[in-house]
Symmetry: C2
Subunit: 404 residues, 2 copies
């Protein structure tokens, strides 16, 4: 398993594009992205559990029902959600892309991200389709990664190279998301391609399993978006023996997917709105996986823990408090807590009570860009990690007047 | 039902006190409070559901097991939580107060609020007990209200006068709380006294029922504290026929309790850490009460809704998004949303989709100090209200370095 460059274009036969078509006012910001596979691909997806669902999700779900797709079209600047004409607009977007690419509209997945409840005009998308298709290239993952950004400050790409039965395969993706991130059954927008050959069914199984340990364990602000989705396309260009069951190849494929997913999760959390640092909460010694996940996610979601981390304040009482209200069945008198980063590690709580530590050392550890909150429950062998970020003045600033 | 002054001393036979004893460094801040009934009182309480419980809660629970109490002792500046000697210190506090008042330690309820995980020294409390008892007075509700404040910017008192069988009764209380507020089965610290005669059993029933509609519907930041509790003492001094069953008098008593509780809830929410405005989410037309509560609480907890309200931005899509992920069974295509305040009312969403509205009018409405988010689910007759506040730079500032 080797990390490589190329993002969503790392896999053979995967092209991408991104242009400014005019949905956003800022002309230097790409707002329309496209990902295309050279041939038909197995397709799988997971979607937000929010009852308010963006129109593009409904259309994408229909189009992926047969487990096949060729392209993914995505705009930023408008979520096309809570609009009466939303589904019609989303369908028209697929038609525009299908016509321009010479493929069926039903082979196009569509996604939108941005403000909710404002009609999305088709005009700039229609006018932008020709330049968008012209921009398609095997090296243009970055264009698409930029086109799907909203309040993100950096584009997010990751890819790996791995072997299936001696055949070299690649899997890579792009992600966007900075706020309204608290995935549940799915996540923010993530598009992944691979040249591995795998059946639609096994692809869905791999994705649905993986998101439980990756995108579902990220929270920026506790708000589950209406437009979350992860779409993965597998075009088989690598030429491996197709994966159709839970073989050793499937395990390897899962590992590749997990590696890219975790890399994207860390990028998402580290680029959370207003964030100054990436937080990882690593829970070990849990009685079962559900307990480990609940504790990790609750700690990473606590506004008070997040604000303390912004202040580089080793206020471990807030970590224990969050564990206590998580709803997980935990013996709080057994819990150990430590903070760790590139600057070292400091244990701050043992068996539910404080231990003496150097505030100065703790401060240095917490001032790093990436901080790990380590929670040992001393109750079993299950473990889980959640990703988030600190709560800062800039989060409030960004969200105090997002629309104007 | 008439609102009156007097706070926790409004009821006959209820004295209060508050002094600076030295737990806090700031000498002008009272940090030790005491509430005493002239005679034995029926007592009831509800406590945090956090598995990490402050030592004072455990001791108070023991002392109120017989449904009787005389006094409530409370310090701020230290929560006496996650300390190995916590229970011993809490017990010693009750002994100090009992000895000074000439009553049994078991008739004293004890509470602590402040930082978690730092040992609480008995010395300043022991030294302060004599001046504390000297400060006891029938007009000193404010002293106690000030003594329990942490990051609160204003003391919180409320009281009402009402009649039971022609006899005038009073019920009043004080509350503290500004952050780590997301009550669950209980709330932040609230102490209430009444001179109504009521059995311990009915008093507990009244309190447990009322908190579901009042303190449990407040959230500042989604963090359920380890030290939450509401204690109510009823000393019978008014001379009414004791309430021992679900009579008309019980209904009247419930109404009095509810009036004071809602007044305190509004004060708690409006004084949320860093808050610039009080938010009320009023949900109507719900299929059942549980649904109404879930929707109201979820909207009031959304970081994105809170930040939008700080910016006086009528970003109703975030309200709909929160309803969608609340977990309540709601038909989102039936939901109406409006914003209202002293400056007027503006409908922004009807049947799940946006309606045209004046951004300028909306801005004026949202700039008021008290804003109501009105959600009509059009699915039944149940309703509920939740209270919270906006998310501001100052919340981050206050919590970025609370301990130092």
């Amino acid at each position: 398993m080797k990390k490589i460059n190329g993002g969503v274009c790392a896999a053979a036969g995967s092209k991408a594009a991104g242009i400014h078509c005019g949905i956003r006012k800022n002309q230097s910001k790409r707002d329309l992205g496209l990902i295309v596979s050279d041939c038909e691909a197995s397709a799988a997806a997971v979607y937000t559990s929010n009852l308010v669902k963006g129109a593009p999700l409904l259309v994408t779900k229909e189009h992926l029902a047969n487990g096949k797709a060729r392209a993914i079209l995505c705009n930023s600047g408008n979520a096309n959600t809570c609009n009466a004409d939303g589904p019609a607009v989303a369908r028209a977007m697929c038609k525009l892309a299908g016509d321009a690419l010479g493929i069926a509209p039903e082979d196009v997945a569509v996604a939108s991200t941005g403000v909710i409840g404002q009609p999305l005009s088709l005009a700039p998308i229609a006018a932008g389709m020709e330049p968008l298709v012209e921009d398609l290239g095997y090296e243009n993952s970055l264009h698409a990664a930029q086109a799907i950004m909203t309040t993100d400050t950096v584009p997010k790409e990751a890819a790996v190279e791995f072997e299936l039965g001696g055949v070299t395969c690649r899997l890579g993706g792009i992600a966007k998301g900075s706020g309204m991130i608290h995935p549940n059954m799915a996540t923010t927008l993530v598009f992944i391609t691979t040249d591995a050959a795998i059946s639609s069914q096994m692809l869905q199984k791999a994705l649905s399993t993986d998101v439980q340990n990756t995108f579902n364990m990220v929270s920026i602000d506790g708000d589950t978006s209406t437009n979350d989705m992860v779409v993965i396309l597998a075009n088989g260009k690598a030429g491996n023996a197709p994966i159709t069951a839970e073989s050793q190849d499937f395990v390897t494929f899962m590992k590749a997917l997990n590696t890219v997913a975790i890399a994207l999760c860390r990028m998402l959390a580290g680029d959370g709105e207003g964030a100054t640092r990436l937080l990882e909460c690593r829970v070990t010694g849990a009685a079962d996986l559900a307990c480990a996940r609940t504790v990790a996610k609750t700690v990473i979601c606590s506004s008070l823990v997040k604000a303390a981390m912004f202040g580089a304040d080793a206020n471990w009482g807030r970590v224990l408090c969050a564990i206590g209200y998580s709803g997980a069945d935990v013996d709080v008198n057994k819990v150990d807590v430590a903070f760790a980063s590139g600057a070292g590690r400091v244990e701050v709580c043992r068996a539910g009570a404080g231990v003496p530590f150097s505030e100065e050392t703790a401060k240095q550890i917490l001032l790093e860009k990436e901080v790990e909150i380590q929670v040992e429950l001393n109750a079993g062998g299950a473990e889980s990690t959640a990703w988030g970020c600190d709560l800062t003045y800039d989060y409030v600033k960004i969200n105090g007047d997002y629309r104007t």
